[in-house]
């Protein structure tokens, strides 16, 4: 029982971490109809910027305080993401107004390659630490109830709290502001949105910038967990079943999806895995998402897919 709880909890926490990456996808998809293949590359790029600047800035400025160094690095990295968003709008999106989803998807693939090259050129391709003082050692709960207690990870809890805050803020943004409504309009129909005066250019810079900052947050958390290096881009693959299960257009869906996938895959690996030789969690996540989709083809919270004649 203690172990079951532990697995459950571990799954929930892992799920929260996926959600963090998933959020970036959802944001861009919801607000512009673009499936952003570059999300993983953005997470890496942001994390690299953070990791490197937190090392460089104290060197350049001779700052002693780790906190200050980290804060400055975060600001500079956020700045990078903003510039990136701006450039992407200028050089890519603006020229692809009103094109189909796949075309835009492909463009983001181009961006992925570019970022991968650029990131490694500027920041190097070694493995770099991000140290924002996350506690690494485990704590044990209910030690008196279960033998060995239930292990939880403080780092995960912090990450989960941050993810939850982000989601709350973003949901409010989408539901309550007129910009949020405009973003959804853009996703539906670029041209019509333009025709009533929604400035696509500005909107896209905003969205990509917000997505960039989400990527940065995800990058910092994942980076402090794993170390910053190229493989960070693959966490995007882990986020895929999450967004699909939750619904491509739903911010809360990203969280719920994350939790379901996280719990599902951990339980399956731990309880079913040994029977078939293990290593099943990754495909199990997809199968799980698929099962949900068979009941709700648009994901749990996604907007209904409209086909009308």
């Amino acid at each position: 029982m203690g172990f079951f709880l532990e697995t459950l909890f571990g799954g929930l926490m892992a799920g929260m971490l996926y959600s963090l990456v998933a959020l970036g996808f959802v944001l861009i998809f919801k607000a512009s109809g673009v499936f952003n293949f570059a999300q993983g590359a953005m997470v890496l790029f942001a994390a690299l910027a953070m990791a490197r600047f937190s090392q460089w800035i104290p060197q350049w400025l001779g700052i002693e305080s780790k906190l200050l160094g980290n804060v400055l690095a975060f600001i500079v990295a956020a700045g990078c993401m903003f510039i990136l968003a701006w450039l992407i709008e200028r050089l890519v999106l603006r020229h692809l107004v009103n094109q189909e989803g796949v075309t835009l998807l492909m463009a983001t693939l181009g961006i992925t390659y570019f970022l991968d090259g650029l990131g490694q050129t500027i920041f190097g391709s070694d493995i770099y630490p991000i140290d924002v003082g996350m506690p690494k050692d485990p704590v044990f709960l209910f030690e008196n109830v279960f033998e060995g207690g239930v292990l939880v990870n403080q780092e995960d809890i912090i990450a989960a709290v941050i993810a939850a805050c982000l989601v709350a803020a973003l949901s409010l943004f989408f539901q309550k502001t007129s910009t949020g409504r405009a973003l959804r309009a853009v996703a539906d129909d670029h041209q019509a949105a333009q025709s009533i005066g929604i400035p696509l250019n500005r909107i896209w810079v905003i969205v990509w910038c917000v997505a960039g900052i989400t990527a940065l947050v995800a990058g910092v958390i994942w980076g402090s967990k794993l170390g910053v290096q190229f493989s960070l881009t693959t966490v995007a693959l882990r986020a895929l079943p999450v967004i699909i299960l939750g619904g491509l257009t739903s911010v809360p869906g990203a969280i719920i999806g994350g939790l379901i996938i996280g719990v599902g895959e951990k339980l399956s690996e731990v309880y079913l895995g040994p029977m078939v030789g293990g290593g099943i969690e990754i495909w199990f996540a997809y199968v799980l998402a698929l099962v949900f989709l068979l009941f709700r083809p648009q994901g749990l919270f996604g907007e209904k897919i409209i086909d009308r004649v």
Binding site: F3, G10, D126, K136, L151, K225, G227, L232, G277
Partner: protein, 415 residues
């Protein structure tokens, strides 16, 4: 034709495995440079060219084809996947492959794998060395009986390679082996470590590469599994695997391919003075002598010494062909004296190959991360030939049967 002996260098300096690929490549290239600085192989200068594979098999094949055309002496793909693919091509092209410390374990059998040279150790050697070390810890191999050992491995041919040996050992010694695969690249291991926590194995053997290693250590820390009880393969025992974990990895052990971090070795000093001090070195000076750097260095040394050996037969001071070089690798005889002269004193033990034995050595040591550097913590360990030899032979025979190959005749060995 060529005046220079050409060495192709397949490297990965970008992508997911770059942190591990770069130091190896630096060591490899630095050694070739060093040989030139020393005057070449009996006066024959070396030339080399890198090709970026990104640790991808198809890129490796492309690089192989590209550099092959330039008169390659020997290839070292530094990837098990690429080794598999190139193993099929090398015999046709008549180019030897050195896979020092990786590749198919059965390719140690030169009777079947004429062109493969897993010099100085295969994965079965590594696995056996680890078991022996565990035995020592427990006070004798027989005390392993009833113990639980978990293998946390990269879910790929590389990771699966040690399983047959470990199973063999498990049935022989009576320990319980549990297999925990980690899907590549290995950034998500929570479930794996929850299982470790549940099973509470006495030891964890870590068979990873790249980000999987540091992630495993971090998860071990997060689930409170003692790092002292973890033993990695030699691709999981270098600086990039632990430095980012720092204190969290303290106590973690890894088997080594003989050498560890060798900042004090003669050859390292020589490289620093002859290359890096003159600004001709490859990569950062501080990393010279690191584990993977040394691995690259050693691999390059093998490549060069085989050619030197071949020159003995085919003409000193001449450029040898790949086919001739193969003979050199098959007849390597790196005695301790020779190694010391090359600057590898204290770094490794003799290696000598033969027609049957393409591995040439089966020694290993264990080193342990003390939070800031690797330190040897074991004596020399020798893999048990009694166990490995028959396994190699059986596996090689199976391969030959599948491929409808016949074992090389004794006469073939001389040539």
């Amino acid at each position: 034709q060529a005046k220079e002996q050409f060495f192709p260098v397949l490297v990965y300096r970008t992508g997911a495995y770059a942190p591990n690929g770069v130091p190896w490549a630096n060591g490899y290239v630095d050694y070739l440079k060093l040989v030139n600085a020393r005057g070449g192989i009996n006066g024959v200068k070396l030339s080399f060219e890198e090709c970026e594979t990104g640790y991808a098999t198809d890129k490796s094949v492309e690089c192989y084809e590209r550099l092959k055309g330039k008169g390659a002496t020997v290839f070292q793909p530094l990837s098990t996947g690429a080794t598999f693919a190139l193993t099929e091509k090398a015999p046709i092209d008549k180019i030897p492959l050195i896979t020092a410390g990786y590749g198919r374990s059965e390719s140690a059998d030169g009777g079947v794998f004429k062109w493969n040279f897993p010099l100085a150790g295969t994965y079965w050697v590594a696995a056996d060395a680890i078991i022996q070390q565990l035995g020592k810890k427990e006070g004798g191999l027989s005390s392993l009986k009833g113990k639980k050992i978990a293998l946390v491995y990269h879910d790929s041919p590389f990771g699966k390679e040690p399983i047959p040996l470990l199973q063999e050992r498990a049935s022989q010694l009576g320990f319980q082996l549990s297999l925990l695969p980690v899907t590549a690249p290995g950034v998500e291991q929570k479930a794996t470590w929850l299982q470790v926590r549940q099973q509470r194995p006495d030891y964890v053997v870590l068979w990873g590469w790249g980000v999987m290693n540091s992630t495993a250590l971090k998860e071990a820390q997060a689930t409170g599994y003692p790092r002292e009880k973890m033993y990695g393969v030699w691709w999981a025992g270098a600086e990039p695997d632990v430095k980012d974990v720092g204190q969290g990895a303290k106590g973690y052990n890894a088997v080594t391919m003989q050498h560890g971090t060798e900042k004090g070795a003669d050859v390292v000093k020589e490289i620093l003075s002859k290359l890096h001090d003159k600004g001709q070195g490859t990569g950062p000076k501080e990393e010279v002598g690191d584990v993977l750097y040394m691995r690259g260095l050693m691999s390059a040394m093998f490549a060069v010494e085989g050619v030197r050996q071949a020159q003995e037969k085919y003409g000193k001071g001449k450029v040898v062909t790949a086919e001739q070089a193969r003979w050199g690798y098959e007849n390597l005889n790196l005695t301790q004296a020779k190694l010391d002269a090359l600057g590898f004193k204290g770094v490794m033990r003799p290696v000598s190959t033969s027609c049957q034995d393409h591995m040439g050595a089966n020694w290993a040591r264990v080193h342990t991360w003390d939070g800031s550097k690797w330190q040897f913590t074991s004596d020399w360990l020798q893999a048990d030939e009694q166990i490995i030899k028959p396994m190699v032979k059986a596996a090689a025979d199976k391969y030959a049967a599948e491929k409808k190959l016949t074992r090389r005749a004794a006469s073939d060995c001389g040539s």
